[in-house]
């Protein structure tokens, strides 16, 4: 019992520590693909450290939402980390606190407050980026719902741990059409929710074109560090759900021992690294979509996810 609680906290610590490393690796690989040298892999850590030691400047026109949001944006992905399988294949202590749908709603709560805070200060670029983020968000919601419903339908449960154990149970299920289509739809969803090309440019500094980066425009000091770190943790959480539940639910700890957990950490990091390679390949070969084409992109993701559900419901 105490082992399960302790492992849950170890899981959260692993996600918090390695999320900036993932961001650093992805940006370094993108620069290498473009034949440049790129920043160091641990640069995000240095950025967060520097921001925590700086002063904070807050506009006098802003309300309590502006001050409250960085904490919310940092905590909501950590909340979701308690619910999903990151290191272990058996349910941990908080695993039944919420299912995948609840996790999706908690992440949407963080996004909602980030959008509100971007409007709060009166900066002209804030509401522009906030309205675009809401456009992407509300188009991505049906895709989230249908993906979760299909996954729960196939596996017979909405708790991620149980889905993970039943999803690819005989290995031949990997090639089942439902599985492949859901993987494709969820990958398009990660690109949209994580603010990656082709939906958004994560390394752009041009405020007129920002979609997801606009939530952190007005923050300074520790609040900016929390917003940055929270965004990186959110991407890591989405990738963990993708890899550990849908694509490769292998390599996780099977027994409640410290040894198994210690072996699982580098395996999970290796899986995340392979995903980072795929992400960099996709990002480097596509161009950012025009704003009104994003609805077509997410419409295609919706159609793919509904086709996955049809392939399960009508064929089996």
């Amino acid at each position: 019992m105490t082992a399960r609680i302790a492992f849950n906290f170890v899981q959260v610590a692993v996600v918090m520590v390695f999320a900036p490393l993932l961001a650093g690796i992805v940006s370094r690989l993108k620069e290498i693909v473009q034949s440049k040298h790129g920043p160091s892999i641990i640069q995000p850590y240095r950025d967060i450290w520097k921001l925590f030691h700086k002063d904070q400047v807050i506009s006098e026109e802003s309300s309590w939402i502006f001050r409250f949001t960085p904490y919310l944006v940092f905590i909501t992905p950590i909340f979701v980390t308690l619910l999903i399988p990151v290191l272990t294949s058996y349910p941990l202590f908080f695993a039944f606190m919420g299912d995948m749908l609840g996790g999706g709603f908690v992440l949407a709560l963080g996004g909602f407050f980030a959008t509100l805070a971007a409007v709060d200060t009166g900066n002209p670029y804030g509401p522009m980026g906030a309205s675009r983020t809401r456009l992407v968000g509300f188009l991505a919601e049906p895709v989230f719902m249908i993906v979760f419903f299909t996954v729960s339908f196939v596996a017979g449960s909405t708790i991620p741990y149980i889905v993970q154990q039943r999803w690819v149970n005989p290995i031949s299920n990997f090639f089942e059409p439902t599985h492949v289509l859901i993987m494709l739809a969820f990958f398009m969803l990660i690109l949209a929710e994580g603010g990656r090309i082709p939906v958004d440019n994560p390394s752009g500094h041009f405020e007129l074109a920002m979609i997801d980066e606009s939530k952190g425009l007005e923050y300074s000091g520790p609040a900016a560090a929390l917003m940055k770190w929270g965004g990186q943790i959110k991407l890591f959480v989405l990738i963990s759900i993708f890899l550990n539940v849908l694509v490769t639910p292998w390599g996780l700890a099977r027994t409640i021992t410290v040894h198994d957990l210690a072996v699982a950490i580098p395996l999970v990091l290796a899986k995340v690294f392979v995903f980072a390679l795929v992400l960099v390949a996709v990002e480097s070969s596509l161009a950012k979509l025009r704003l009104f084409r994003i609805s077509e992109f997410l419409g295609a993701a919706f159609v793919i996810s509904v086709a996955a559900m049809i392939a399960w419901v009508f064929v089996v």
């Binding site: 031949s172 492949v180 289509l181 609805s295 159609v303 086709a307 049809i310």
Partner: protein, 227 residues
């Protein structure tokens, strides 16, 4: 309806879902080249499904169908189109359509669900396991091809819609009626080539005469109908 699934039937189901996905791609793409590439993908998946169905109860007939399709559609049709239609048609970036793309995708989804609903009473008569996948997907590709034919305003995508209909009918028939005489298959393949050739030559003539292959602007009688 519950029959033991083997690896071949699962791979066939995978080929069927990619076939459906490439048909959706034909509905959702904006460029003429993109439409053609999705059509080529669709034909490749049709050939792979025929190949997989011909492996287990070993039927050389189905494997021959797969090879004919693999030569005919992905290779010969794009080559023939390039020879007969002028290059300018291919460099057209945006295809004008009657409805925009998200609505087209939703209608395509509705057509797919409708085709599964249509195929359900047919499948209860006691079809084999591959027909469970092939028949609804084939009918869906038929309906989607008809939809592409209706909605697109350019000549080459309309032709590709017609060919997608033919692909869909083929996809359904390889699971239901695999014992069709090989001679008929060859005739059908040759007919498709002739149709492409004729429509390609017509498109070139239209393009040279009017300057655009936008079929929507062919509805007026006078020459000033150029937009």
């Amino acid at each position: 309806m519950t029959q033991p699934t083997t690896l071949l039937t699962q791979l066939n189901a995978l080929a069927g879902s990619f076939f459906l996905l490439s048909t959706f791609g034909m509905v959702a793409t904006r460029q003429v080249q993109g439409c053609l590439r999705f059509f080529v993908l669709q034909s490749v998946f049709l050939a792979s499904s025929a190949f997989l169905l011909g492996l287990h109860p070993l039927s050389w007939h189905l494997i021959a169908v797969a090879i004919i399709n693999l030569v005919n559609k992905p290779i010969l049709i794009p080559w023939l189109l390039r020879r007969t239609v002028s290059e300018e048609v291919y460099t057209r970036r945006e295809i004008t359509q009657v409805l925009n793309i998200p609505i087209s995708l939703l209608i395509a989804l509705g057509l797919t669900i409708g085709s599964y609903y249509l195929a359900a009473p047919l499948l209860q008569v006691g079809a084999g396991l591959p027909a469970l996948v092939n028949l609804p997907v084939g009918i869906a590709a038929l309906l989607l091809g008809a939809y592409i034919l209706t909605v697109r305003r350019e000549a080459v995508p309309q032709l590709l819609g017609l060919l997608a209909m033919e692909n869909g009918a083929f996809f359904a028939s390889i699971a239901i009626a695999p014992e069709l005489h090989l001679f008929v298959e060859l005739v059908v393949a040759f007919d498709v080539l002739i149709a492409v050739f004729v429509i390609g030559v017509l498109t070139r003539a239209i393009h040279e005469h009017i300057g655009t292959t936008d079929v929507g602007s062919l509805t007026a009688l006078k020459e000033e109908s150029l937009r």
